[in-house]
Symmetry: C2
Subunit: 324 residues, 2 copies
Amino acid sequence: MTRIFDEETIRSALDPAEIVAPIARGFADYTAGRVDVPPVGLLHFEDPPGDVHIKYGRVVGGDTYVVKVASGFYDNPSRGLPVSDGSMLLYDAATGELLAILLDRGWLTEVRTGAAGAVAAQHLAPAAVESIGMLGAGVQGRFQLRALAPVVACRRVLAWSRDPGRAAEYAAELSAEGWEVDVAATPQAVAAECSLIVTATPARAPLLQAGDIRPGTHITAMGSDSVGKQELDADVLAAADLVVVDSTSQAFHHGECAPAHEAGAITPADVVELGAVVAGTHPGRTSDEQITVADLTGVAVQDLVIAEAVYRRLTGRSGGPRRR
Amino acid sequence: MTRIFDEETIRSALDPAEIVAPIARGFADYTAGRVDVPPVGLLHFEDPPGDVHIKYGRVVGGDTYVVKVASGFYDNPSRGLPVSDGSMLLYDAATGELLAILLDRGWLTEVRTGAAGAVAAQHLAPAAVESIGMLGAGVQGRFQLRALAPVVACRRVLAWSRDPGRAAEYAAELSAEGWEVDVAATPQAVAAECSLIVTATPARAPLLQAGDIRPGTHITAMGSDSVGKQELDADVLAAADLVVVDSTSQAFHHGECAPAHEAGAITPADVVELGAVVAGTHPGRTSDEQITVADLTGVAVQDLVIAEAVYRRLTGRSGGPRRR
C-alpha cells in the first residue's frame, strides 16, 4: 500500500544532523559507480517563468528507487507562494510498487543539500576554523549553517548578502539558534577573516577572486545549479590546491567548473569527486595551508538516500541498500 | 492542496469512450509542435528484471504538466502481482503546485493506449468492416477491442493468441460483453477474414507477412513499445499504401518502423503522423482498396490528456489546455 506523508510529518521524523553520514556514503557509492543516476529530466516554462527538474535513480542492487520532481516558479512570491516546491516518490525495486509519496514541498532537497555541505566541510575544512563565512542569506544559507553544527566546532559566523536587510535578518535568526553572527559589508571582508566559506547565492558573476582567499581556506560553492550561474572567479579554482566536485559531469556542465573550464583554468582531470575523498581513495586536504574548493551541484543519489532514511523513520521498514 | 485518487475512484470517474476525441486532439497538438515532450526517462533492473519509464510533458501554454512513472517487473506474477504498475502526477503549470496524484496502478495507461487504437481505426479503417481481427489476447487486447466499440459498427471478432487457452478466455470474456468472438488458429487466418486488424502482442518476430494482407485492410500495431519487438514483417510496411505513426522519432527508434527501416523497406519521409491525419493536413485513407498501417508506440501527450480529463471529472476544475 502506498503511504503518503505531508511536510509536517516528514519534518518531525528526520533530524537533519543524522543524514550527514548516509549522504557521505551516497557520494562514495556514486563515485564508485554503484549508483544508476540518469541525466536530469527538464521542463522549461516561459510564462510565467519556471523550471521543473526530474531527478531519479537507484543504488544498484538496492531495495528501492526514487523519483523526485522539483520545481522553481519565479513569480510565485507575487502569489504568496515560495519559489521552490517538490516531492519524492519511493518505489520497491523488486516489484515497482509505489511505497511512499513524500509531500515534503522541497524541504528534503534543502536538507540533503545542506548535508552535502557538511560532508564537504568535514573532509576539507582546515583543522582550526575561527570564523565561518556565509555568502548568501537565503533559505539554503540557513540550511548550510545548521548542517555545519555537528561537524565544525566553530560558532562564529560572518554573513554577507547583496541585500543588507536580508543579511541582518539572517544574523538575527541564526543568532537566536546559538550562533554568533555578524554581518560583513563585502564578500572580501568575509574572505579576509574566515577559513571556511560557504557560497549559497544565485550569483551570475564571481563574488570572490583568487587574491581574496587566504591560504588554508576551504570554500564550498553551492549556488551554481544551472548553466550561467557563477560564484567564484575561474582564478579561484586555478589557485586552489584541490578542487572537489560532487559529480564531475554535472560540475563541468553547470557548476563552478563550467566557466572555469571555459576560461582554461581547469579540466576534468584536475578535480576529484567528493565520494573518492569520503571513501579514502583520495586523501583530500593534506595540510592546513592548502586552499580547497568543493563545487556541489546536487546529485540524485542524495535524494535517494534521504527518501530512504525518511521512509525508514516513518514506517520502521527498511528501504536501505541491500548489499549483495 | 494535493488531491489523491485511488484506482477505484479513477475508474468510476472516467468512461474510456469519452477520452477518444481528446486523445485525437492531443495527437494533433503533438504533431503541430504544440506539445513539449522530452525523451522518456528509463531505469533498468536486472534482478529481478524490470523497467521503469518516466514520461512527462505539457501542452505549450497549457494549465498543467504531467509526470507519469510506469513500471514493468516481469517476475511479479510469481508474487501474485500484475507485471505493470504506474501512477500520474498532475501539476499547475503556473506555480509548480502538485494538484493531483492519480494512483491508477497503470489503468490510465491501458485506457489511453486503447484510445489511440480507436483514433487510428476512426481515421484509417475501411468504410465497411465485417470482422475485426485481434492478435494477442492480453490486457491491452481487451482495452483495444472495447475502445473500438464507439468508432466501429462491427461486432464480429476473430482473435488469435500464441496460447490457445488465453484466446479462448478472451473470446468468452469479450463475448459476454456483447461481441461475437471466435478464435483463429493462426495470424494468417485472421488476416484472411478481417479488414481491421489490431496487433497487441509482445512478439519479437513478425506475425504477419505482406502476402497475408488483403487489399483494403487497416492494421494498428500496438505491441512494439521497445527496441527488439516486432509484429509486422518489413514487407508489410513496404507494401502498405500509407504508414501512419503516433511519433516519427519514437516509431523509428523502437516501433515497427525501426526494423522496417533497418531492412530498407521504409524511411521517415515515407510515414505520416496520426496528428496530421486527425488535423486534416494529410487526407489519410483515400480508397477502400488501400492497405494502411498505424504504428503506435505511446506518446506522453496521451498521458497528459487523460490525466487532465480525470482531474476535471474528479474535481470539476479545469486542467485543460489554456489556448492563447
